[in-house]
Assembly symmetry: C2
Homo-oligomer: 337 residues x 2
């Protein structure tokens, strides 16, 4: 069965002989261009300007960036090595504030490095190789997590499902096939007929640029709309379910995701349409009680308006959907409620 399932058609991120290759998503759909770098600072820049984005993909990018740091560090003394790499790793962990996956991935790297150094004789070359393998394992696990998550998600789709989503949550947001849009891909592969309504997702148009690109390649029918049309399309009974991703989920199930997600959750509730959140378990931040404690990134005003009064712009990149508006959270482990 697995062979018939959708795979990521163009790698979002990959490691090749010391060089990290990142598909530059700011250039899509017009240009498919890779950023190739061995400098972790360039990865941080790529993350900040959203050349790579999406919570699971950020986890992979963060892990590989940690490996780049290690390969640039030439300290022959263990303690000096650790002292040199950790500040850089912390910068990576905090490149963007809302998605927890960057922090999550760097924390795994730290923990594994600590265990490794405790139990192994010090060797710079071997340690670097170990760190790279940890990063590769995070990437591989991400592929498997997406696979499991998308099976769970797709099984919630009825036949002839007309789906609404937001932002991009397909292969481009992860190391694998994605989360919410991955579920759509799986449902399509399972021969449930699916059609997708794609809100353009202002301000950066991830829906209009990235979802259309992925859906075209998968030959899944879709319609591009503005974010403001969501309610109207639901009222016209054109939507059977809404499925979105998440950047961070609090312990109580409140989910932070791309700005506009909350609009869709309220609209779905008003129209009695199921609203699903699909995200890997790594997105759940058990240190955070509720959505109120999730930091919301404010992005530059220039993203919204190139007009005359840029100081009068409010540009939060995320919003929080309370758990009571979510019908279920789908992870690779199953369903939350």
């Amino acid at each position: 069965m697995k062979d018939n399932l959708p795979i990521q058609l163009t790698p979002t991120i990959s490691w090749d002989k010391g060089i990290l290759k990142i598909l530059d998503q700011t250039k899509l759909p017009k240009v498919e261009k890779y950023i190739e770098t061995s400098d972790y600072k360039e990865v941080i820049e790529a993350i900040k300007r959203l050349s790579i984005r999406g919570a699971p993909a950020l986890g992979c990018a963060g892990a590989y960036a940690c490996a780049l740091v290690a390969y640039k560090c030439n300290s022959l003394v263990k303690e000096a090595f650790v002292e040199e790499i950790l500040p850089a790793w912390n910068l990576i962990a905090n490149a963007r504030p809302t998605a927890v996956n960057l922090m999550w991935a760097v924390n795994i790297m730290k923990k594994q490095l600590e265990d490794y150094l405790e139990n192994t004789d010090w060797d710079l070359i071997e340690t670097r190789r170990y760190i790279l393998n940890c990063a590769k394992q995070i990437h591989k696990d991400d592929i498997d997590r997406c696979d499991n998550l998308c099976r769970h998600g797709a099984s919630l789709f009825p036949d002839n499902a007309r789906v609404m989503t937001v932002c991009n949550t397909g292969g481009l947001c992860s190391g694998g096939i994605g989360t919410a849009l991955g579920c759509v891909q799986y449902a399509h592969a399972f021969k449930k007929k699916v059609e997708v309504y794609v809100p353009e997702t202002r301000p950066l148009l991830q829906g209009a640029r990235l979802n259309t690109w992925e859906l075209e390649r998968s030959k899944i029918p879709y319609k591009l709309i503005t974010d403001s049309m969501a309610g109207s399309v639901m009222r016209d009974k054109k939507i059977d379910l809404v499925i979105v991703g998440a950047d961070r989920i609090a312990k109580n199930g409140d989910a932070a995701n791309k700005i506009g997600t909350y609009n869709l959750a309220v609209l779905a509730k008003h129209h009695d349409i199921p609203f699903y959140v699909a995200a890997p378990d790594s997105t759940v931040d058990r240190n955070i009680k509720s959505g109120e404690d999730i930091p919301i990134e404010e992005r530059p005003s220039a993203e919204i308006s190139s007009y005359l009064w840029p100081d009068k712009v409010y540009n939060p990149a995320f919003d929080v959907t309370p758990f009571e508006l979510i019908d279920t959270i789908i992870t690779e482990k199953g369903y939350w409620k």
Copy 2:
């Protein structure tokens, strides 16, 4: 009191010695440029491409366009004159399908011309002059209607009102001070402190381009947001009331307005925020029972996306908000409920 009230700072539309001047709103806020024409077909083109837009302004533009037709028609025989102008007047009435005001204005012109010709000796020059005066009267009445409407509307504002609106409904949408944004202007003039959250209003960004331009000129504080941020801003308790315009209101109170209005109405209901519609009585189409019968204009897909797959775009220009989501409809005559 009247002298202290806000007025339209830059005329949206004006008549000067046989030339109709229309402020080209597609160029705002960067360029303030007028279209000057004596050809009604150019007015229709200006209406279609939204150089002039907003239901009340369309009424004025339609009436003046009728006058342009009359001034171009040289038939010295009454019946030939009427036969020549009516087809052009009908084209004007149907330049855009959703706003009823074009049709409304042309119907007034027709009725008044009919009465005039029945009761007056035929004279080409006098008839033209009469038609122009009818158009000027429609414009003048629009100014008065806006004034009354905005007084009613502003009186619903609390002190320190934080207001959300959509599209542009200020001086630019009418011959006078506007409707929903006009109410904001009046509340500001009445020394109620107001602050406006301005959704950019995709696809054509009337909020980002036109509301910001008007609010800057009136020195009213505002924040520009994307349409997708509306729910989040309401949830953060930053909004005291929502006020929007209308392009056509059915007999039962269902109101068609710029796409995205319905989103705001549902979101306002969910957050217990009053939702007001402000529109002149001419917007009410008593021939139409409910919102279901209001024709919704679909606009060119190029407005949404200049990307690679323009055939996959759905672009309705309006949506319908059912009366049950509306707290009151404000007209120049008062309140509906």
